[in-house]
Symmetry: C2
Subunit: 325 residues, 2 copies
Amino acid sequence: MPATGNPIIRTAIIGYGNLGRSVERIIADQPDMELAAVFSRRAEVGSAAPTLPADAVAEHAADIDVAFICLGSATDVPERAPELARLVTTVDTYDNHGDLPRHRAAMDAAARETGHLAMVGTGWDPGLFSLNRVLADAILPENSQMTFWGPGLSQGHSDAVRRIDGVIRAVQYTRPRPEAIERVRAGEAAGVDAASAHLRHCYVVADPADQERIREEIVTMPGYFAGYETIVDFIDEATFDAEHAGMPHGGRVLTRGRAGDSHHVVEFGLQLERNPDFTAAAQVAYGRAAHRLRAAGEVGARTVLEVPPHLLSATDLDELIAAKL
Amino acid sequence: MPATGNPIIRTAIIGYGNLGRSVERIIADQPDMELAAVFSRRAEVGSAAPTLPADAVAEHAADIDVAFICLGSATDVPERAPELARLVTTVDTYDNHGDLPRHRAAMDAAARETGHLAMVGTGWDPGLFSLNRVLADAILPENSQMTFWGPGLSQGHSDAVRRIDGVIRAVQYTRPRPEAIERVRAGEAAGVDAASAHLRHCYVVADPADQERIREEIVTMPGYFAGYETIVDFIDEATFDAEHAGMPHGGRVLTRGRAGDSHHVVEFGLQLERNPDFTAAAQVAYGRAAHRLRAAGEVGARTVLEVPPHLLSATDLDELIAAKL
């Protein structure tokens, strides 16, 4: 127990891909958290904490304050997260925007059954970008608002492509069209929408016999690619390793709107050297908030829109007010 | 009462300068607010709502859900806001950062005496910028963080200069130094602080006999100018009217920090065509939140760091989650 008298938050990681590994690194930097276990389908994942079987969460739940769900959004989160929310307080980064209302309702019901809290859709989009969309829209209700993603690699979309039968390796890059950014800043956003403002570019390693079917499955995938201009390039594994190992990302939420007789631009931007590290950092901060809300007696699902911002910080409120207000 | 069943929030404006006038314009655009009265030391201010004497708030308090305090930060807010917080739920834009902890404590004690809520330090800085400083610092605790103001006119600082004896007209512009912005983005922020990253430039109309004393009072004013490079130019009234009638402003909060093994830049920026309009828009949105928190039984002082973001919006949470998450 630290000198402040706050108990250490006992955490677990469920799923140990890129995101889970980053969450472990981030937890190690927090003054008020420790990692109790990693749950994985694999017997040994290389974590410094004990690796336990994916189906053993129930028997260890009493020793876990917050579980970071680091499973894939395409199928694992919707299938497994509600059963986890019945066992422990959870934080996910589920990123299928269109499905978030359904996911939130499922997590709310599951968490309430057993008196846990389930923080859904953290990370940066959904997450910090959602928060900025709501703030700017609340202050300037008559607005043009656009979210631009990239240039960068999308984990959620890459994961969705990798789940397609026959895909050996895959990445997806999102690129904003610069002329669309300038149109929104200048107040000429009419006709600019997410699909026309971006390209989605996939690089895929697959057997030639599978390629046409894979291309078709990608470009028609609802919630991910349908409606977007999507380029699918098939490359060999050596090219993939040489050119697509990094995970940069970023983007911006741009809102131009009226207040009184004048117009204003609100812009929130991220430049991320390594997407899973930043996503994990946001997830871990919302994990602190989830723990504090649960400790205050709250249960059910919560989104980033419902969290008092100071609860994300390891620094206490009085000190934040003195240093940051 | 609107079709949604939500009662209309009955508001008042206390003080009718630039900010008070903007608040009236913004309230008129809200679907869930009406302006009951303006309280002013002047008999008639030109508002569409009744103008009532500044000392008549107590006798009308029962008809006011939220009062927007639009008095000057230099002396009026610290002197008068606590007595107002005893009478009604208040929202202020008090912008003396160093004095905010004291102000919050005074407002907390006053509001609790009579069961009201006092939202302190709204607007954009303090306000939205504070929120972004805390969010970015919570997610990337090992960081270089800098706030840049301008180029633009500072209401609070201009007001502070205008309260000096002998000042006839005055404005203050803040200008960031571009090389300081680039240093923070590049991770070379060591040695860059608020004072070295900005110039403060005042244009003042005053009798020549008063000018040296006024210059000295400005550059040594604690909490506003002391410690900054401050330029004071005395000009004539015709020049003032021709060149200093607009109120543009803006700025950015820039945070570069580490998560895991990688580095990331978080940036929140504003470009404001007319500062009091945007400040008022933020103040009014936090007024909605203040009313909702009070209606939920909360009392005492609150800062922007403590407010669940969806409470700012006239749109309900389920709809925000579907449209913005």
